[in-house]
Symmetry: C2
Subunit: 327 residues, 2 copies
């Protein structure tokens, strides 16, 4: 049997592309190459343009039965803004929206989808700068977002030993929301509604990212789109970390959903994905200043030299990566 793409995955593609770029790099004013949250190239003064791209496909990333067109449109912009946010002191500027639309889609649905994309763009001051609409079997939304970074863009892998790892928000809710939707329950409790909302209506942390990066030296940052486990892996490339499991923020709704079953909660928090929270590192000395500046951040661990270790009351707990994989 021929090998299929199931064996490859996104990170294989990025390595493939990086090899191609080695020669081209010096001629193109590239500041930060493919493989980070955004690609960055030099602009005028000390600013950099940051660019991110994302594709959402019906029945892969969303279902029409689960989401309103408003939710789909909003999410498609938020996930891209989230990538721009994680570069620090950034402003999203231009969005390019390509839509694949099945012939039988109602104009009403499309109008609501467009309006939601438009309104989310207005919220962030984004200019809709391009579009292409084509026929397709499934609704396909491909977005490229160009932003500007007023300082040095913050990479994923530039943390130093001893730096503290911080997060915004809570983890695991989106996966729980996805599960509740999959179960197809008719009558929902309020905590279930909260979890579903977290899955269908994610919110980029642009304001917080800008606030902290303007005031504190952030040594590395990413947004948590593929799960906290994956984010920690990205921040600790060629390094390690001690993660205090009990420090990972969990929502009351998730705790209720899992009847306080702690092992299950860790699983959700680490492998959930689609949280769009910030995961970042700072020098120890900046801890107090950061915590005074924003109340919604939590320290979950420290960067170390070797490997990533998860600790529960000081004891190691092992996990195997089983997060988001597209193929």
């Amino acid at each position: 049997m021929a090998k299929t793409i199931s064996n490859l995955g996104e990170f294989g593609l990025i390595d493939f592309i990086k090899k191609h770029n080695t020669k081209a790099l010096k001629y193109h004013n590239v500041y930060l190459d493919i493989g980070d949250d955004c690609f960055c190239f030099n602009s005028y003064n000390n600013s950099k343009y940051v660019v991110t791209t994302d594709i959402l496909i019906e029945n892969v990333h969303f279902k029409k039965e689960w989401s309103t067109p408003e939710q789909i449109g909003k999410k498609s912009i938020e996930v891209n803004v989230s990538d721009i946010a994680s570069m620090g002191n950034a402003k999203p500027l231009y969005a390019f929206v390509s839509l694949g639309i099945p012939k039988d889609t109602s104009i009403n649905f499309i109008k609501k989808l467009f309006s939601s994309i438009k309104n989310t763009c207005i919220k962030y001051g984004i200019h809709l700068s391009g579009g292409d609409t084509v026929g397709a079997k499934d609704i396909t939304i491909s977005i490229t977002l160009i932003g500007i970074c007023y300082d040095k863009p913050i990479s994923r892998d530039t943390a130093k030993y001893g730096d503290l790892i911080f997060v915004t928000g809570t983890f695991g809710d989106s996966l729980a929301g996805f599960e509740i939707l999959s179960a197809g329950k008719k009558i929902l409790k309020s905590f279930e509604k909260n979890l579903i909302k977290k899955h269908l209506e994610p919110q980029a942390k642009l304001e917080i990212a800008n606030l902290i990066s303007k005031n504190i030296k952030i040594t590395s940052m990413t947004d948590c789109s593929d799960g906290l486990f994956k984010s920690i892996e990205l921040l600790t490339k060629n390094k390690g970390a001690n993660i205090d499991l009990k420090s990972i923020p969990l929502s009351r709704s998730l705790i209720k959903y899992k009847n306080n079953n702690i092992n299950n909660l860790y699983h959700y928090a680490l492998f959930g994905g689609e949280e769009f929270e910030l995961v970042f590192t700072i020098n120890k000395k900046d801890k107090d200043r950061l915590e005074k500046l924003v109340s919604c951040v939590k320290c979950i661990g420290t960067i170390t030299k070797n490997k990533v270790i998860f600790l529960e009351n000081g004891k190691e707990k092992k996990f195997q990566y089983k997060g988001y994989k597209h193929f």
Copy 2:
């Protein structure tokens, strides 16, 4: 029955977006808004960044049975380079490639597709700057290409009365190639192979576009992706044109394919689409200089005040728009 998107089409979307942008425009350094071949924003010095985006979907834009992965990859870059080319004196810089890939796609196919995208990028000196790969039911290729324009980007609708309309290449071949592929003939004659090649392996006219725009004042330009009829419509917004049908360049292969049936040939040339030739206007006084500079251009008509008129031996011939429509 609910109204469906079949009634709307791409140009409805662009109007919808333009309304949104009115307020945002002044804050964003926008030089040329959505609705032209590329979106343009100011860069350092007098340069402008130009951005275009395109989405290709299996069984809508290409078929795996008809095209090799190499042809699909090449075409996906060429169609975007073609948009950049039509802005004049431009260089494509950064490509962002999002791929939707069905689970059962062979690694061999994907490797060939990627290699072809990569090699076409190398040909044009393009840096592969971003990528996202996701699962999908049909192969989906969404590309955003950022380039730089060293002069004032050339719009579609800035021609003046009396300007001459020029084209590069021949018209109608791609549609004929598509028809031959659809017929599924096993044994092909050499003119049929030529026409198929025109459909599957289009070539952006970047070099010619740069050569003419650096040396001659081009008053308006577009690339012919949706058919010559549509291109003429775009160049004559609020204006008109006299088009000499017999001047439209036709290939020997197309003439052979249609047994020299002239009415049929006009239909192919005007409504074919996917030609990726340049359609542009110049001031009359530059005609000689242009024709000395490049041999592959042909004058097909003149910009007038009123409506577009097609002439055959001086007599008007009427056509109704029946070109490429996605929905």
